[in-house]
Symmetry: C2
Subunit: 451 residues, 2 copies
Amino acid sequence: MGRETVHAADTPAPFVVTYIYDFSSQRGVSIRMEEVREQLVRQAQAARQAAMTLANVSTAVKNGALLAMAEGLLADGAYILQANAEDIQQARERGLPEAMVERLTLNEKRLAAMAEGIRQVAALPDPVGEVVEGWKRPNGLEILKVRVPLGVVAIIYESRPNVTADAAALCLKSGNAVILRGGSEAFRSNQAITASLVRAVESAGLPAACVQMVQTTDREAATQLMRLNGLVDCIVPRGGAGLIQTVMQTATVPVIETGVGNCHTYVHEDADLQMASEVAFNAKVQRPSVCNAMETLLVHSAVAGEFLPAFAERLRAAGVEIRGCERTRQLVPWAVPATEDDWYTEYLALILAVKVVDSLDEAIAHINHYGSRHSEAIITRSLDAARRFTREVDAACVYVNASTRFTDGFEFGFGAEVGISTQKLHARGPMGLRELTTTKYVVYGNGQVRT
Amino acid sequence: MGRETVHAADTPAPFVVTYIYDFSSQRGVSIRMEEVREQLVRQAQAARQAAMTLANVSTAVKNGALLAMAEGLLADGAYILQANAEDIQQARERGLPEAMVERLTLNEKRLAAMAEGIRQVAALPDPVGEVVEGWKRPNGLEILKVRVPLGVVAIIYESRPNVTADAAALCLKSGNAVILRGGSEAFRSNQAITASLVRAVESAGLPAACVQMVQTTDREAATQLMRLNGLVDCIVPRGGAGLIQTVMQTATVPVIETGVGNCHTYVHEDADLQMASEVAFNAKVQRPSVCNAMETLLVHSAVAGEFLPAFAERLRAAGVEIRGCERTRQLVPWAVPATEDDWYTEYLALILAVKVVDSLDEAIAHINHYGSRHSEAIITRSLDAARRFTREVDAACVYVNASTRFTDGFEFGFGAEVGISTQKLHARGPMGLRELTTTKYVVYGNGQVRT
């Protein structure tokens, strides 16, 4: 077999991808894939070993490692910022949009925030070891359902380098070994942060392989990582809709989907309209770029005339564009006509779709048809309407008289947030440390056999 | 576009697959795929509608439907057995192995057992509506985590037609609409059973689309079904390792994996050897063809000389073949030499791999390396050994002084069994009705907004 080594030009130093070409079979790519896969398998095997240790160490040891990680990041600040400066320079050379460069940028303040985030994770209760439930069978078997780590978690994420420290801390606290795969534009920053974290982990007496990073920005590596069934227990994608869809379509390892939010607020005919204005305004305007922001407002026709014109003025003053149904436009003449597409759209911007409906039924049907099952709210005084809305709307979080913006691990009191799940298996809604665990049945007997 | 209609010869009547060939693009298969997909999408949309109704009906209505299903199966017995006779005839004509024909065969007794199984599901507690937990936030928000149905569940299974009734009953009780996709050899039987179930469901006032069956045995239909993200909430494969692997590799919809069991029993140096003999014999011999049967026995070297020769004789008398390590073969000369492959193998037969180990550590390391994380047991008198084994062995169920055969929904007291999960997300170990549900956060406020 003839082999030729090519240095891939678009791979950032110091890592060099070796491209191997098999002249006899002319199967260059598949051989390279095989080598990428072999390296990942070695990493994942090391992660499995580390995970077995990590699953059984005390909370004190894990917290010690976390505090060392926080200190280490600050001590290694100059080194990390130097690596980040190189990423930024390359991003500028490649003409990346300034918003992306901004997300990529680290500074002393952001490093301090990363360290503080890790310290907060250290301060949280350890989810591992909790006895979730337990019972005794008639034959005397005692069954305990005990919370244990997932094992090896892969996190696939985009440009913000702070996710590297955040994800590593959450996984370590929940007893999981982590394999990190960040965006190519932050490769040097992520390497420097990971190197710092690994030193801290080792200094606390834990295996270095508790925290690892995929050592290439090659897309094929991410694909292979998503298919390491038996070695990787779970994948958590963190990023935009495109990244999440790619992971969902590619992975054979189970995925925790963190999804889009096409969230609604419905103002019922008996709503406190002052409250409706406050809650809906908050849901749209307080931070429009996030998944739990409101995208469509539904208003009952009995109160539309009283509510909509004034509320629309309030939105206009805040710079919000309104895309309305025909009846909305009769009340708010400056509103843009809404198309069918608008009801499906997660704007993540100061744009709001508005529709007048004639009943609670119509509101629920609209939400269940167009919504993304993330967060939905009703404003009402009616117990019956509240009960029907919360029962019949199919979403991770359903609110009565409160802003959809509360769908968040911190706001729910979890102390940390892994993401917000819009899938129905394993976790739904805000995910904290507990959602990075699984359970194990521990069964005690005294010689029971099955007959 | 030219179109030609071909009746696929191997598709059982009365359903006719229409094969469409696009002469201009010569893309016959993809157009057929598209039609198959369209039909599935229509079914899944109808299932979604039905699921919304089913999620909110009372337990009494669901139980009424279940009892009607049980009665209906008995009333429609002649019709179902006629369809089954046609399946059996075709299976014989195609030369299917007698064991498969046996699994396929229905009779009065098996029909009665199916009906009785449905009645038992009716008698179980309804998992839907349970408040799993709830708390109040400092800002006054009241958060409830409420158990709700998954929505639309697809069950992909193999030859036994009784799974059709069983899966439909479990899904209906847990408030889920179900799309069933059984094996091609049982197509007529499954159609007849489904038709009977649907009549019962409708007679109880529920939508017919609560229970549906994929109307073709085409493999492409199964593939498409596994990729209906947004319409199907979850797939449960029920069958052999091949089926489960195919679903894991193909599906983009979240899957609950029910996996293989390479289960171990470890006899520690301080074990009650009489208990060890009873428990290990039960784990191997009581029903060797199932996933929770023992496949490898590990014996501490300090007791191997006393335990193994007599236990091996007991196994031999029961027709068990032993594949032993070298030290085992010194004690049991008739044992076949074990190869590396044996430690990985789920025999599902009267074969047992036996290895002598020198420590608890070696036993744990062997299990974590070769095991499939299903069910593992230790026989010991030592509290410390029991605690270390249950902590450090990575498996869905870990037993102290009891047979691995207890890993079962009924034995755990769940009253029903959906399968045994060997994955770590969502459910791990025996799955009952509760594992066919998810949760929803219901949040009550009085105008809270986020600041």
